[in-house]
């Protein structure tokens, strides 16, 4: 299988302060393989090293150690060749303030070697694609954050990149704008079949957009896989929350299939089961037969946040740290 992105043993330490004596280890031996045509997500809290990793893969930053191959080319030795075929869009987008949306796209289009009518058509198409027409002649510093983010997406498509790096593409956006940007990313990727490596600290975003996800924490990848596989790997269980009248006996709960844990407090019972959707019906039936009057049932399934917390816990206990 050809990997669009292949990184091996990436280390990066930032040196600051007087004579660079203060050191921050940003990445501690990252290995990563992303297949051609997939959307791969890097999930992690602030300061995990997501932007550093993306910057190294996009040739903006050089690692201290390690190997990076993009589209089969050694990216550390052939930065200029790679830059022809990749592009990046970042959250909190910044472009030339005194240029309009359209002028910014023309300027960056020229940097990618687009000339004359070819550039005009490309810029117009991107303005249309990202719904920027109304704001195309407005100066960059006068448009909204959402528009800036759309401009950033338009800019990163100017060279029809084979690999696209998206660094927190919805950070700072209101939910509607964020959802719209996600839709745009999804449809653009589907249409162009490009490889997308996306960083985010938004679990839901990763789950909805990405085929595979890696958890990054303190410069290390804790685990990687599809959202489904990661949830199964952790097995923290789904929570069935039952409001009831009458009495629920512990024996009745334990007679239910797949019960991992439970707690009863007043008229509220929380039962942790291995698979909520599968066990819900039989569990309610068992409790009803036992004499309880079920008033309300809610199911909270394991999400990526639970998985991340679980993995983070494991890593911290391995390192003797407190979460």
């Amino acid at each position: 299988m050809a990997f669009a992105i292949e990184a091996e043993g990436i280390f990066k330490t930032f040196r600051t302060g007087w004579r660079g004596k203060r050191r921050t280890e940003a990445l501690k031996g990252i290995d990563l393989r992303v297949n051609a045509g997939e959307i791969f997500g890097i999930l992690g809290p602030n300061g995990a090293g997501k932007t550093t990793l993306l910057s190294i893969l996009s040739t903006l930053l050089l690692p201290d150690r390690g190997k990076v191959h993009i589209l089969g080319i050694d990216a550390l030795a052939n930065g200029a060749r790679i830059r022809e075929r990749v592009n990046i869009s970042s959250g909190n987008a910044n472009f030339l303030w005194s240029l309009t949306v359209k002028e910014n796209l023309h300027f960056y289009g020229m940097l990618y070697g687009l000339v004359g009518r070819q550039r005009e058509e490309k810029v117009n198409a991107l303005i249309g694609l990202l719904d920027l027409r109304e704001h195309q002649n407005v100066l960059f510093d006068r448009i909204s954050t959402g528009m800036k983010q759309r401009l950033s997406l338009a800019k990163c498509l100017l060279n029809d990149p084979e690999v696209l790096f998206l660094d927190e593409p919805t950070v700072g956006l209101d939910p509607n704008a964020a959802s719209r940007i996600r839709e745009e990313i999804r449809s653009i990727q589907k249409e162009r079949k490009m490889t997308v490596l996306l960083t985010t600290h938004n679990m839901r975003e990763a789950e909805t957009l990405c085929g595979r996800i890696a958890f990054l924490k303190a410069g290390e990848i804790l685990t990687a896989g599809t959202a489904q596989a990661l949830k199964q790997m952790v097995r923290v269980g789904d929570v069935v929350r039952i409001e009831f009248q009458g009495r629920i006996s512990e024996d009745d709960i334990l007679r239910g299939d797949g019960v991992i844990n439970y707690s009863i407090s007043g008229n509220l019972c929380e039962i942790v089961v291995d698979d909520g959707e599968k066990r819900l019906g039989s569990l309610v039936a068992v409790l009803s037969q036992g004499g309880a009057e079920i008033r309300k049932v809610t199911l909270r399934q394991t999400d990526l946040e639970d998985v991340f917390i679980e993995f983070a816990k494991r890593t911290d206990s391995d390192m003797g740290l407190r979460l």
């Binding site: 910057s55 040739t59 930053l61 050089l62 930065g79 030339l96 005194s98 940097l111 990618y112 070697g113």
Partner: protein, 267 residues
Amino acid sequence: MSLSNLPNGLIRIWAFVFKNWIITKRNIFSLFEIAFWPVVGFFSIGLLTTFLELDVNMSGFILTGIISMSVIQVCQIDVAYVLLYDLWSKALKHTFIAPIGSFHLISGSWLIGVMRSFVVFLLLSIFSALAFGFDFLRPGILPLCLFLLGLFLTAALIGVSVCILVLVFGYNAEVAAWSVVSLLYLVCGIYYPVSILPFPLPVIARAIPLTYLLEYFRSFYGFKSVSGNCLGWGFGLIGVYLILEAFLFKIVLHRARRTGTLLRLSE
């Protein structure tokens, strides 16, 4: 840049002309840079020569200096602006994620600098003829063109040095865009011959191309040049410094990618 890549290379150079031009035309202060400060400086010095009752040649000596400095200042600031605009907009990383080289960056911004400073030159040479009777065309078209080319290339040297400082020191270096050029006032013989400078300034002056370019142009107005082949020395030094700066630019850009300066300056 191979011949097959020429159109791509040219459009990348043109990108920086386009950027600087748009920003210039939207900025009222750029009008001050072209028309106000050079004209005010020129007339201040020109009127001083009148007050001191200097003869035409001596006035010419000083007016050549002030016009040269105005041309250099306007041209070099455009080269320096190529990174400063990105720095102020926090958009530096978008420029360096694109497949461009330092040659595109510098030559594009230098071209717009040449255009703007040529306007300054035309303006001031017309004023010098009308107000002070100084004829800039006396040496002839070719010497004038060579002299101007030397000034433009000197400006490129200064602008690139500012860009290098920006890539190393970030925002701390932006003041260099306006201050580096001032050093030339002191040592290159703008208002006086370098022979009157105390040691070691004459030695430093001899290491700066502008010193030779001014001696060359003033030799047409009766001032004897100290150096034998002024043009040779001037352009020779420019060539050496441009090569050195090209290497240095490459090194500091590599350093900026290693230390994360490009990212830091984009946040």
